[in-house]
């Protein structure tokens, strides 16, 4: 029977002894710029891993190219610093052929959405059992500060001296559009929230896309300050929790409702009259429509009304499982194959010299 449920983590061997954060630190010197948000994400991931209790030999971090993609060096697990934009493709091969591995992808906004955009959307639609951590600093960090596919319109950089012309991608919208089964957003400096999101992603059977807002303090400093400053954050951050009415603002005085005329979402002042209209967040809704609408609430320039948390978490058949089932059926019908014989074939040519 096809297992679309929670059994997938159980295929990964457990650690023999209790682990601590230290077990997940490698002996490599961490070489990001001092103050980079990547340090905070690394610490959160290393701090969270012991909770999973998986054998380190069965955990793999696959990255592409970029500052963020140096991540695998610093994890005391298996890892691969792979090809620009291709981490989802490599990880797909690994996850489908080795279901006893917990496979994580670390990618940047440039890596995932410029050169790797195609690989990303196909991994998402296939629902491969991957956990994709997309470090979004809205800039190319490694190559010293060119605008990226998530930079705001008009971004002035060395490559766009008069301001960028491109409309940015919203990675959460993109992932929901590709019908990703799990989509979440969190922030580098909010250790507690980041850890909660990692936990939910790790438990999800299928592709989990986690967008992590990450400060590049050298080339795009303060990009997410509107969400980090305690006072501003009350007005800018919408914390999504499954089953809870969506309220935010000082004293939770604002609420998200559905506009009856357009069907779209709107923000209103929370009053007794509209109390019953306040949208209750349903991350498990089969249709991605409301999750998509939530992802459009944020203003890409000011970041006002930015939802964080799990937008969507639904179960649907996992590619790895479907493929394993197909192989089982093929074995049953045709017996175990012989790859060597297949490659040699029985219809060969000899090239005469």
């Amino acid at each position: 029977m096809t297992d679309i449920g929670n059994g997938l983590l159980q295929l990964v061997p457990r650690a023999e002894a209790r682990q601590s954060m230290k077990d997940f630190k490698s002996d490599q010197e961490v070489r990001w710029c001092p103050g980079c948000g990547d340090y905070a994400i690394l610490a959160a991931v290393q701090g969270f891993m012991p909770e999973l209790g998986l054998a380190r030999e069965n955990i793999v971090f696959v990255s592409g190219i970029g500052c963020s993609s140096r991540f695998p060096y610093y994890m005391n697990t298996y890892g691969m610093h792979s090809i620009h934009g291709r981490a989802p493709a490599i990880a797909t091969g690994l996850a489908t052929s080795r279901r006893d591995l917990s496979v994580w992808v670390v990618t940047g906004d440039g890596d995932a959405l410029s050169i790797g955009g195609n690989h990303l959307i196909h991994a998402l639609r296939r629902n491969v059992n991957l956990k994709i951590l997309l470090f979004n600093n809205r800039i190319y960090g490694l190559t010293k500060g060119q605008y990226s596919p998530t930079s705001e319109v008009g971004k002035v950089t060395k490559s766009t001296p008069m301001g960028s012309l491109d409309a940015p991608f919203n990675p959460v919208s993109l992932a929901i559009g590709a019908e990703a089964s799990f989509v979440a957003r969190t922030i580098d400096s909010d250790r507690k929230h980041l850890t909660e999101v990692l936990r939910a992603a790790a438990e999800h059977p299928g592709t989990a896309l986690v967008e992590i807002y990450q400060n590049c303090n050298i080339f795009n400093d303060g990009a997410f300050d509107a969400l980090k400053d305690r006072q501003q954050a009350e007005e800018t951050v919408i914390r999504l929790e499954h089953g809870q009415p969506i309220r935010f603002g000082a004293g939770l005085g604002k609420a998200v409702v559905r506009d009856p005329a357009t069907g779209d979402l709107a923000v209103v002042t929370d009053t007794d009259e509209n109390e019953s209209r306040v949208l209750v967040h349903d991350a498990h809704a089969a249709s991605p429509a409301t999750a998509f609408a939530l992802s459009r609430l944020a203003d890409p320039d000011t970041l006002h009304r930015t939802p964080i948390g799990v937008f969507r978490s639904v179960e649907r058949p996992v590619y790895d499982t479907l493929m394993a089932d197909q192989l089982d059926v093929a074995h049953e019908l045709l017996g175990k194959g012989d790859l060597g014989a297949l490659l040699a074939g029985n219809d060969t040519w000899t090239v005469a010299g």
Partner: protein, 107 residues
């Protein structure tokens, strides 16, 4: 692992480090600032900005200042992980190691 604020900060406290910390884990005490070692993510941003070179990576702390590693850890006993200095009142008291540092002479 964590960064540690040692003796040179005592009674200086210009707070340059505090501005730099991306996770807001540097807390103010009456005479010194303290790094919450379990919240510090080892990013190193605080170290180069300190005008009196008070900040050290834990492993690089000179032998004679090693008590400050204990001070930065123990001062948070009972406070746990406060989750950011900005929403937190300054620490009410210094660690004994800091109390033992003589006050600057006024002459």
């Amino acid at each position: 692992m964590a960064y540690v604020i040692a003796q040179p900060c005592v009674d200086i406290k210009d707070k340059a480090c505090l501005e730099e910390c991306p996770v807001d884990c540097i807390y103010e005490g009456p005479r010194k600032l303290y790094i919450q070692p379990d919240e510090c993510v080892d990013c190193g941003a605080c170290e180069p900005v300190c005008p009196v070179e008070a900040v050290f990576y834990e492993d690089d702390l000179p032998q004679e200042l090693s008590a400050f590693r204990t001070a930065d850890r123990e001062v948070f006993d009972g406070l746990g992980l406060p989750g950011g200095a900005r929403g937190h009142a300054p620490l009410a008291a210094d660690h004994a190691v800091v109390d033992a540092v003589p006050a600057p002479s006024t002459t």
